[in-house]
């Protein structure tokens, strides 16, 4: 049992944290690619910008400016600094519900990126700056994992993380392989960058060896059961978490759980050959739409339920 408002805030901390990490990683990969003068590097830049919804002017120096704004622009609602500020603001509102260790990790990160030093640190070494943010976010997640009780609040936090992650990975794959506007990515250097953007290069190599092609990438990032950034991994966690929450909170039938189960089944029993033949487009669009529906259903079930349904018997 916890306050509905608190559950909502924890859920949003999870979403913002995941978003900040993803944007940082995409920017870092793009910045690294600008050092090469290859076609693959140009494609990498395009993929990154498209996956983050940034306009692509095609100029080479655009990547640096875009990465700067994605990290530090306080007026851009998708930037890392805004995501971290919102995560921290939510954490402040539920300060009594999270451990000091967890809070201090997030607060430190926030103070660093909001402080006067941030601009200079980015100018000095932009990729290094972003890598440090990612490392600090991992520290936050580690502190949360090892100090918070793995009960209801923890589950809401993880729900936010996995719903956000499923959507972000689906969007990345859509841009690379199926959005119809840009040609599908085939260049090996660019394909490696796609894996890096999902933090998947090393785990991928262990499964498929250094045979890097779009079919395997799709298979890995959509259907792998064990890799934490595959869509299937996320949907399995979402279903599991909602199952637990429903049981603990005495919600017998929840739309959220039904939707999550359906989406998970769709990925679990999908035919990889068919997805490759017909294009991943339909599946990826469905993932994004279903995640949005699950989000709505969680809110309706646990946070904004009608009062007459909430009275004790």
């Amino acid at each position: 049992m916890m306050l509905a408002r608190v559950a909502d805030s924890l859920y949003w901390i999870g979403r913002y944290i995941e978003r900040a990490e993803h944007v940082s990683r995409l920017s870092a990969v793009m910045l690294n690619a600008t050092l090469d003068r290859t076609q693959g590097a140009v494609q990498t830049g395009r993929i990154g910008l498209a996956a983050l919804g940034e306009p692509d002017s095609g100029r080479a120096n655009q990547t640096y400016l875009a990465a700067h704004d994605l990290a530090l622009d306080r007026t851009d609602s998708g930037s890392v600094v805004v995501s971290l500020a919102r995560a921290r603001e939510n954490a402040r509102q539920v300060r009594d519900q999270i451990t000091t260790e967890t809070w201090e990790r997030l607060n430190l990160l926030y103070l660093r990126i909001i402080g006067p030093e941030a601009e200079r640190a980015f100018d000095d070494d932009p990729a290094g700056f972003l890598q440090e943010i990612i490392a600090d976010l991992h520290l936050f997640k580690g502190a949360a994992d090892t100090t918070l009780s793995h009960g209801e609040g923890w589950r809401f936090l993880l729900l936010g993380v996995h719903i956000e992650r499923a959507q972000l990975i689906a969007r990345l794959l859509e841009v690379c392989f199926s959005d119809g506007k840009t040609p599908a990515v085939t260049e090996p250097i660019a394909l490696m960058s796609v894996l890096r953007m999902a933090c998947a290069l090393e785990p991928y190599l262990r499964v498929y060896t250094a045979d890097i092609n779009s079919r395997f990438i799709l298979e890995f990032l959509l259907f792998d059961e064990d890799f934490p950034r595959s869509v299937r991994f996320c949907t399995a966690r979402i279903q599991e978490l909602l199952g637990h929450l429903g049981g603990e909170l005495g919600v017998r039938r929840s739309d959220a759980l039904r939707l999550a189960g359906r989406l998970d089944a769709r990925l679990k029993y999908a035919d990889v050959g068919e997805v490759e033949a017909t294009g991943a487009s339909a599946l990826l669009t469905a993932v994004a739409a279903e995640c949005a529906s699950i989000h709505e259903a969680i809110y309706a079930t646990f946070v904004a339920y009608p009062l007459e349904l909430g009275l004790p018997a």
Partner: protein
């Protein structure tokens, strides 16, 4: 950083620090550390030795570590600018203020006596009003006070504990004796700073802390929870307690979250509460849950828009009716403010004698009530030596410090006094005692007060510690954080220090 091991009292340490000789010159106020002619008071000797052995650079480093730790913990308040909001820490000084055991014993019994009498007073004026009929306190002074809540009349309050949490402000006059400057019976704050300062001081001076033998303050949260639960113990075996906060933008939000966390109870906002059938519920993920005790950190005016201010969105509509029906406890009870009204203050010694038949252990500051024509003329004639305060105001607002004000300011205030004498009281300007503080790398005396916290449920408990507030500007006597004040840890010693 090297561990702060107790320093052997060898010859080199016996020499006072040059820094101290050059800079630490207490004025005519009572100084907490230096008695007279540079003699260090016995209970300050351990600390003084340690300060002397550390030197300016190391002290500065410890001060910075302390400030960083406050920032990291989020012990901040927000300053809103035109476009951005910046967070600042409340200025905190690293040297503890030390109170010997015998002085504390007097404070403890004095405060217990005072709060017992004030709760009796509240029970009486919201009940039979004997004290008004006996003419001990003027009727119009009480019933006409803005903080008097007619809605509280004839309501049953368990244990007669209207003010469950009280923070009284004590000061030392030039003779060194503690006197009560004011009582805070509404929603006193600052207790989280007492605990955070303690946490910091233990890390800054571990050796001195151990040697001095300091009484712990860490039990405050569980004693508070026990006090709150005692308010509902007559009708609930395990009452659900919550802390009600105005929200994250309130300057004391850190404290609200801190207390909720350490008591292990939900921190709710008005929007989390739902009133149904005169019962209070909170909206949880598994439906609505009953709430039995609300430790509210929202002013009377704002707790229920149906009963008090209609434009308030901080409380819950219908809350007061649920309280009247006996279905929820609100702590502190609404209407306690009438007992810390600055005009009623002048009668507290009489209130103590009336209900307890005892002489007050802690005296009041001499107070002139401007509502009395003879006292008003005295005040007007001596504006340059008095402090004048508006009775309804707090936080250092609406106040004139005569000796520090310009002739023009005094003239303006005199007009206000004549226009509305009922609204003002005056007190002599007291040189608050001074304590050593680290200011820009030098150790200098700064005026301090003392705010201990007293809990009252089924019994009265005084936590052996306090918030010491510091007026950080040289010579300033105003310690309020809204007026540039800071704070420091307060050590209450367990045993008498042998000289």
């Amino acid at each position: 950083m090297s561990p702060d091991t107790p320093v052997a009292r060898d010859a080199t340490v016996e020499e006072p620090l040059p820094l101290m000789q050059a800079a630490y010159l207490p004025g005519r106020a009572y100084d907490e550390m230096i008695a007279s002619a540079g003699v260090v008071r016995p209970h300050y000797e351990v600390l003084q030795d340690r300060i002397a052995s550390l030197g300016a650079e190391e002290l500065g480093e410890r001060q910075r570590t302390l400030e960083r730790s406050f920032l990291l913990q989020g012990i901040t308040f927000t300053v809103y600018g035109a476009e951005s909001a910046t967070e600042r820490i409340i200025p905190t000084d690293l040297f503890p203020r030390i109170i010997p055991a015998d002085e504390w014993a007097t404070i403890e019994t004095g405060l217990t006596q005072r709060l017992t009498a004030l709760n009796a007073f509240l029970g009486d004026i919201y009940g039979e009003q004997k004290i008004l009929m006996d003419g001990v306190v003027p009727r119009d002074l009480v019933l006409g006070a803005a903080s008097y809540r007619r809605e509280m009349q004839h309501l049953y309050v368990p244990h007669n504990a209207y003010a469950n949490v009280c923070g009284s402000d004590l000061i030392r006059g030039e003779d060194g004796a503690f006197v009560v400057l004011e009582d805070n019976l509404r929603v006193p704050s600052g207790v989280s700073y007492m605990l955070a300062n303690r946490d910091a001081a233990r890390r800054t001076f571990p050796g001195v802390f151990f040697q001095a033998g300091v009484r712990p303050v860490e039990r405050y949260p569980d004693l508070l929870l026990a006090t709150l639960k005692a308010m509902a113990s007559e009708w609930r075996s395990d009452p659900q307690v919550v802390v009600l906060t105005p929200g994250v933008y309130n300057s004391a939000y850190y404290e609200h979250a801190y207390l909720a966390r350490l008591m292990g109870v939900p921190l709710v906002e008005g929007r989390d509460l739902v009133l149904h059938d005169n019962h209070v519920f909170m909206r949880t993920t598994s439906g609505l849950r009953r709430v039995d005790v609300i430790y509210r950190r929202v002013d009377d005016d704002f707790i229920d828009p149906l009963t008090f201010r209609r434009d308030s969105s901080l409380g819950a509509a219908g809350l007061f009716n649920a309280y009247r029906a006996g279905n929820v406890m609100i702590c502190n009870a609404p209407g306690t403010g009438v007992a810390d009204d600055k005009a009623v203050y002048a009668y507290v010694p009489d209130i103590i004698r009336y209900y307890l038949g005892e002489e007050p252990i802690l005296p009041n500051v001499e107070t002139f009530l401007c509502r009395e024509p003879s006292q008003l003329s005295h005040v007007l004639a001596n504006l340059d030596s008095l402090v004048v305060k508006a009775v309804g105001a707090s936080g250092g607002y609406g106040m004139l410090v005569g000796p520090h004000a310009s002739a023009e300011e005094r003239a303006t205030f005199a007009e206000a006094l004549k226009a509305n004498p009922d609204n003002y009281i005056a007190q002599p300007t007291i040189q608050l005692s001074t304590a050593p503080c680290l200011v820009d790398g030098r150790i200098e005396p700064r005026h301090v007060d003392l705010r201990p916290f007293i809990l009252s449920g089924d019994k009265v408990v005084v936590t052996p510690g306090a918030l010491t507030r510091v007026a950080l500007r040289r010579g300033s006597l105003v310690v309020n954080s809204s007026q540039g004040g800071g704070s420091k840890d307060t050590w209450v010693l367990a045993e008498e220090t042998r000289a």
